[in-house]
Amino acid sequence: MDKILRIDLGAEGGPKAYETPLGDYSGLGGRALTSTIVASEVPPTCHPLGKENKLVIAPGLLSGSAAAMSGRISIGCKSPLTGGIKESNAGGQPSQVLARLGYAAIVLEGKPKGDDIYRVFINKEGVKIEVDNTLKGLGNYGVVEKMRAQFGDKIACISIGQAGEMKLSGASIACTDMELRPTRHAGRGGVGAVMGSKQVKVIVLDDTGMAMRQPKDPEKFRKANTAFVEGLRKHGVTGQALPAYGTNVLANILNEAGGYPTYNFKVGRFPGTSKISGETEAALETERGGLATHGCHRGCVIRCSGIYNDKDGHYLTKQPEYETVWAHGADCGIDDLDKIAYMDFLDDDIGLDTIEMGVTIGVAMEAGLLKFGDADGAINLLQEIKKGTPLGRIIGSGAAVTGKVFGVERVPVVKGQGIPAYDPRAVKGLGVTYATSTMGADHTAGYATASNILKVGGFVDPLKPVGQIELSRNLQIATAAIDSTGMCLFIAFALLDQPETYQSLLDMINAFHGISLTSDDVVALGKKVLKTERDFNIRAGFTKEMDRLPEFFKYEAVPPHNVVFDVPDEELDSVFNW
C-alpha cells in the first residue's frame, strides 16, 4: 500500500491510469488521507461537479490485513451538497480488496469529454478502463449482477446508481458486502454525484492472487489483535447489544428520551416506535429466516448488521440501520417496517443517502406534497427519482433544495446536509457537533465516545462537569483520529470503557507498520485532520455564521420535554479554539 492509483478521466485520447508514490501522504490512511489529498489538490472554490474536483477512495491503515474491524473505506471530495470538504465512509468488502491490491488510494480526476460511461477493472495485472454504455441507467443491484456475470463472484464493486449518474446531491456510492450485494454506502454529502460527474459507473476490484498484507512484527500483531477482539467481545455494547439488535436498538431509548425526531422534527416521540424498534426488527428477521447478526465485511467481529427478508422469506435488503429506520420511519410518521425496508432497498439500488432521503421526504410532507404516514407516497417519491422526473430530481437533491422549492421554513439541515436521527434540542451536545462539524450535520462527526480514553484535551474527569463545547470538540478530534485508522467507529464504546482495548488497537497499528504511535500522536493526527478540513472550508468561503443550526431549533420547543437549542453562538464559535 505504498502507491496511489490515479485515473485521469479527462486525459487526451481518453481516460488514463497512472501511479504515483505516496510521498508526502505517507503514513496516512482513511479520512486522514482523503481529506489531506482533497485539501492539497482540489481548489476549494471549484465546482464540485467540475473537472477540478477529485474523488479520493482510501482504505484504512490496517485494511487488507488480518486485523479485526479494519474494513471501512473512506471516500472524499468537495461535496456538492455542502460545498465544503467531505469524507463519507462505508463498510463492505472493497476496502480489504483494494488494500490487498496494494493501493493506498484511488483518485478519480479530470472530466471525460462526451457522454460515455466507464467501467474500471483492477486486478493484479493492472487497470483496465473501458466504455460500457450498457450500464447506463442501471441501479446498483443491476450493475453488480452484470459485473458478477462478467468477472465472477470473487470481486468487490464500488458503484453508483441512477442518482449518481444524474449527479444529484443526495447520491451515494455503493460498496458490495460479503454476499456481493451493493448494500454498504458512503451515503452522505453527495459523493455519488461526484463519481457520476467523472462518468465512472463502477470500479471492479479483484484481488485474486494477492496475499493478505503482512505485519512487520507478526507475533506482536497477533497478540494485539487477539486482545482487541477479546475486548470487543466482552463489552456489553460491542459483544451483546449491537450483535443482537443492530444499531436500531437505539430507537426505543431515543424515543424514551424525547429525542427521536418525529414528523419532520415537530415532536420528540413517535407513537409507532415499538413497531419499528431494533427489538422488533431483529425478531422479525429471525422469524422470516433472515439474519439478525451479520457482518458487513470479513473480519468484523461485532456484526451489527443483518439480512431482512420479506413476508415470503425472500431477501429484501440488508438490515436497515437506526438512522434509516428513523429517517424513513418516525421522521415521516411511518410505522410499517416492511415499507421502510423496501425504501432502504430502493435507496441502495438507486444509490441514495437514506438519511438525506428520509429527511427530504419529511420536508415534502411538511410542504403538503403528501401526508405524514403515507408510506406508499414516500415510496413513489423514490421511484420518481429513479425515473429522473423533475420532481424526482428535486427530491434527490436533498432537503435544503426541496425546502426551497416548496417554500418550507422548517428544514432541518446544517450546511445543506440533513440532520440525522437525534434531536439537537434534547441532546444538545449533539447539536453542538451538528452545527460545527466540518462535514455539515453529521452524527458520526463526534461519534468516537472514546475521547476520554484518548485523553483528548487532557483526561476528562467523569465526576467533574465539563462543558458540551469542550466535549464536542474532544469527540470530533477523537472521531477524526479513528476515521483515519479506517476502523469501524463502533469499536469506540469498548475503547471508552476499556483502556486496555484501546491500547491493543495502538499496539496492533504499531506492530503492523513497525512504528511507535502514542496516544498523543493519535490525538495530534485527529486535530490535524480537522484543521485541514476546516481550513479547506474557510478557503471555500465558509464563515462562522454557517456553524449554526436552523433557527427554528432555537424558538420551537420540542415535546415532551419542551426544550430548545440554547447553546449561544459565541460558544459554538469556540469549538475549534484549541
Partner: protein
C-alpha cells in the same frame, strides 16, 4: 379485571418479550427510590443493576442517581442495557458525557413523597427483556387487552404449542376464545401471568 394465565415452554415465553418494550403496569411502592424499588420490590440483584442496567429513564428523563430518583404515582420507568454510539454514551447513567443532555436529565433536587402502594409503568428494552422479562411475567403485569391481542393476533394458533395451557379467570380456554375475549375488551386492563413449566 380478568386474569389471563399461560403455561408453556421458554420459547413461548420469549414471544411475549416484545410486548414489554411498549410498557406495562405493575404495583409499586410510591415514594421509594428506583434502586429500592428494583432491588427490594422486584428482586433484581444489585450487581446486575449496577453492571447491566446502564440506561434508565424516569418519565422520559435520564436518571444518573438511582438512589435519589423517586417513583411517583403513574411514573414510567424505562430500563435499558448500555447502548451504542455517541447517543448511547450520552444517555448512559453517570457517564462522562452526561452534560451533553443536561436539558433532559432527571433533576438533582430530592423529592420526599408519602410512601404508599401505587401503580407505575415499566418499559423493558433490548437485552433486559430477556433477563428481566421472566421475572415480571411470572409475578404478573397489567396490560391493555389490545397490547396482548396486538402481539398474538398476528400469529396462527400453531404459535401455541399443543401442550401449552391458557386459563382465563381460572377456567381453561382455547386460543380462539382468548382472541375473542381480548378483542371484546380491548380497552380494558387485564392481569397477565406466564409460567414456564418445561424447557424443550
Amino acid at each position: 379485571m380478568r386474569h389471563i394465565h399461560l403455561e408453556g415452554d421458554g420459547k413461548l415465553e420469549k414471544s411475549f418479550f416484545l410486548m414489554l418494550q411498549g410498557g406495562f403496569y405493575v404495583e409499586c411502592p410510591i415514594g421509594t427510590s428506583i434502586k429500592e424499588f428494583l432491588v427490594d420490590s422486584i428482586g433484581i440483584d444489585e450487581t446486575y443493576l449496577a453492571e447491566k442496567i446502564s440506561t434508565i429513564f424516569l418519565d422520559g428523563k435520564c436518571v444518573d442517581d438511582i438512589g435519589k430518583a423517586v417513583i411517583e404515582e403513574g411514573s414510567t420507568l424505562a430500563l435499558s442495557s448500555a447502548m451504542p454510539g455517541l447517543a448511547g454514551a450520552i444517555l448512559k447513567r453517570g457517564g462522562p458525557l452526561k452534560v451533553m443532555r443536561d436539558g433532559i436529565s432527571y433533576g438533582k433536587e430530592e423529592k420526599f413523597l408519602q410512601k404508599r402502594k401505587g401503580i407505575c409503568s415499566i418499559k423493558l428494552f433490548n437485552l433486559l427483556t430477556e433477563d428481566l422479562g421472566p421475572l415480571f411475567l411470572k409475578s404478573g403485569i397489567y396490560i391493555k387487552a389490545r397490547d396482548l391481542s396486538g402481539l398474538i393476533s398476528t400469529k396462527s394458533c400453531q404459535f401455541l404449542p399443543r401442550d401449552a395451557t391458557i386459563t382465563v379467570d381460572g377456567k381453561s380456554v382455547d386460543f380462539e376464545v382468548l382472541l375473542d375475549i381480548l378483542k371484546e375488551e380491548e380497552d380494558e386492563l387485564l392481569f397477565f401471568t406466564f409460567d414456564v413449566k418445561w424447557e424443550r
